[in-house]
């Protein structure tokens, strides 16, 4: 008798345990990031952010009727060919959406493949404002466009820092940095600032003594220097400029959003640096605080750079769109994404109201004074 009861109990337990497996088919989302190669320091935090989001959503019961999200991650190896193959692989696995990439030159081989199949692709980190126009209605951006962030820091330079003459340094080896400079110069000239010096360098450069010497010898003297670079050169340029004795403000875009601008020069020299970035660092919003806490708990370190919350937001955005559409079909998901309004992401509020498809998001202007980060203001684009 006892044995019978035991067996019945066990069978019951196994059925209840197995039941979720029967009812819920996982929602597959593909993640394309460069986890090896030159972009890995930027993309790996994005993947971690995305995985964190998936974990939390699944812990809270998944989406729709208890369906779990399955994040399929493929390494793009900082190589276009691998990115294209990776995209095809994910598509052949039946993903209902894709996320990934922090640079447009990897979005360009991958996203059109998604567009062709009608599957939405949400980039977490590529900020080229013409991406949705170039690729199609399946292309969605989590971050703001380079135009917005450049305008933001240009406005700040003029209005708050009182800059009239500015020197512009551009990393000529990346499209992101060239685009950033282009928009900064455009806005600067609209505001009446004068560009007194234009200098160039390349990603991977370590020594900026020539550029610094030219900076010192320019006349009229620049009130600030705008450095368009990615994190790898951010710390190096700041350190060398300050070490040479120059105290003029250094301004930049989200390429400067990294610990390196404080750790490499040291707290004393990390002074008078201002940059525009995704709204999350030092931000008191509850989403941000929760994210930083969860990230710390999961990975044991603070988010390495802004790309971590961006990856998180990509997944969260898709999850939100799925919930609103009450469906995980790619077509419905695409339409739901396009209607996103006021989604409270960790990196700011996302709304797709413009015809260009670039989200209307706030831009944080962050200052670094003696090694301390603080949010100076939040800039909003005049909504078109």
């Amino acid at each position: 008798m006892k044995k019978c009861l035991l067996i019945i109990a066990l069978v019951f337990m196994s059925i209840t345990l197995a039941a979720p497996c029967f009812s819920a088919e996982p929602i597959k989302i593909g993640a394309l990031y460069s986890l090896t190669g030159g972009m890995s320091s930027i993309d790996t935090p994005s993947l971690r952010g995305a995985q964190l989001a998936v974990k939390i959503i699944n812990q809270n019961g998944g989406l729709l009727d208890g369906r779990m999200i399955e994040l399929l991650s493929v390494d793009a190896k900082t190589d276009q060919k691998a990115a294209a193959i990776g995209a095809k692989k994910l598509l052949s696995k039946g993903v209902i959406a894709g996320i990934g990439h922090s640079d447009p030159s990897f979005v360009l081989p991958s996203a059109p493949l998604f567009q062709k199949k009608g599957i939405p692709f949400v980039t977490s980190g590529a900020t080229l404002p013409t991406l949705p126009m170039m690729i199609g209605d399946c292309m969605f951006m989590v971050p703001f466009g380079d135009d917005d962030q450049s305008f933001a820091i240009a406005d700040y330079s003029f209005k708050s820092l009182g800059v009239k003459n500015v020197a512009v340094w551009t990393d000529n080896s990346m499209d992101f940095t060239k685009t950033l400079s282009r928009f900064y110069k455009q806005r600067a000239q609209e505001l009446g600032m004068k560009i007194v010096l234009e200098d160039f360098f390349m990603m991977g450069d370590k020594d900026f003594s020539a550029q610094i010497a030219r900076l010192k010898n320019t006349s009229p003297k620049p009130d600030a220097v705008f450095i368009s670079s990615i994190p790898n050169e951010a710390g190096l340029t700041t350190k060398q400029i300050r070490e040479s004795g120059l105290t003029l403000p250094i301004v930049s875009g989200d390429g400067f959003d990294t610990e390196l601008i404080v750790t490499v020069p040291g707290k004393e020299l990390a002074n008078d640096v201002y940059f525009s970035t995704h709204t999350y660092r030092e931000d008191p919003r509850p989403e941000v605080i929760k994210f930083v806490e969860d990230y710390r708990k999961e990975y044991g370190v603070a988010p390495e750079n802004a790309f971590a919350p961006l990856g998180y937001d990509a997944v969260a955005l898709i999850a939100d769109a799925i919930t609103r559409a009450n469906s995980a079909e790619p077509k419905a998901l695409k339409e739901s994404l396009a209607k996103t309004m006021g989604f409270k992401a960790v990196t700011g509020e996302i709304s797709y109201t413009r015809p260009s498809g670039v989200p209307v998001k706030g831009v944080s202007i962050i200052s670094v004074k003696k090694g301390k980060y603080s949010v100076e203001e939040i800039w909003f684009p005049t909504v078109k």
Binding site: T44, N232, T263
Partner: protein, 298 residues
């Protein structure tokens, strides 16, 4: 453009050149003795840089001791590479050894990313090294001076070693004609091992300097010094130590001066200019500046 500016640029070129020279020497020594290009040489620089970080911050050792341990680390890694990859390749076609060392380079880089994470890290030397001082129109930091002095010291020590000591004579003999050297009773294996050890030790120290000068290191940082040392060694004539030193300084100066003396627009063409000049030098002097035609020997 005044003379002060040019002087400063020259100084920067010399500093950069010393680092390239240190790496190029090791590279050239190894080529001279086993006729194989060690593509993993640049990654030894990376290992040296990370070892410096480990010894300085994790173990908290005083600076001179750190330098000593980094030298040892470089030597050990070099010996390891020689044993695993180069000894079995002796006698194989040249390209084979090159590819094998490339494999090791890829392995080291990916291991670095896997275990240390790809994020760049900072490290800084003790504060007294960072102080700025002026020498006429040129501003230096103590660290820069130490780099140049150490490089010169090591180069002189190496040349003395090669010319005066028994080991040095053995190295030169083996480089010139490995079979006759063996007949003369020289222990080839030990000599080659010593060459690798010394060359890699120098690379390790170069890593320490690189990290100290720029303040930032990451697992992929070895790629560029490795490539540049290859180019520097070739400019000076592969297999020749004075050639490597010369090549290193020429490369360092060329890089800085191209960016420094030409209008800013051309800064992005820097690599093209440097390599273009390299090709011209090679066409004019096919064996490099100080090289001997080693291929025809033995």
């Amino acid at each position: 453009m005044d003379s002060g500016y040019i002087a400063q640029q020259l100084a920067n070129g010399v500093i950069l050149g010393s680092m390239y020279a240190l790496v190029a020497i090791g590279f050239s020594m190894i080529y001279g003795i086993v006729r194989l290009i060690n593509f993993a040489h640049g990654d030894i620089v990376m290992i040296g840089a990370f070892a410096t970080l480990a010894f300085m911050e994790t173990a908290g050792l005083p600076f001179p001791l750190v330098a000593f341990f980094v030298l040892l680390t470089g030597c050990s890694v070099g010996i390891l590479i020689e044993r695993i990859s180069f000894r079995p390749m002796r006698g194989a076609p040249q390209v084979t050894g090159f590819i094998a060392s490339l494999g090791i380079s890829i392995m080291l880089q990916n291991l670095g990313i896997l275990t240390l994470s790809a994020q760049p890290r900072n490290f800084s030397f003790p504060d007294y090294m960072q102080t700025l001082f002026q020498l006429g129109p040129v501003s230096f930091r103590v660290v820069d001076l130490i780099i140049i002095l150490t490089a010169i010291f090591l180069m002189i020590a190496l040349i003395l070693l090669v010319k005066k000591t028994k080991l040095g004579i053995a190295m030169r003999a083996t480089a010139e004609n490995i079979d006759v050297a063996r007949l003369m009773g020289i222990n080839i294996n030990k000599t080659i091992m010593a060459t690798f050890a010394i060359g890699s030790g120098l690379a390790g120290i170069a890593g320490l300097m690189w990290g100290g000068k720029f303040g930032q290191i990451d697992p992929l940082m070895g790629y560029i010094p490795g490539l540049k040392s290859f180019v520097a060694a070739v400019i000076g004539g592969v297999g020749s130590i004075p050639g490597a030193i010369l090549g290193g300084f020429i490369l360092g100066l060329a890089e800085v001066l191209f960016v420094g003396l030409l209008p800013p627009i051309y800064s992005s063409y820097r690599d093209a200019f440097v390599f273009g000049s390299l090709i011209i030098i090679l066409i004019a002097m096919p064996n490099g500046l100080l090289g001997k035609n080693m291929e025809d020997r033995a």
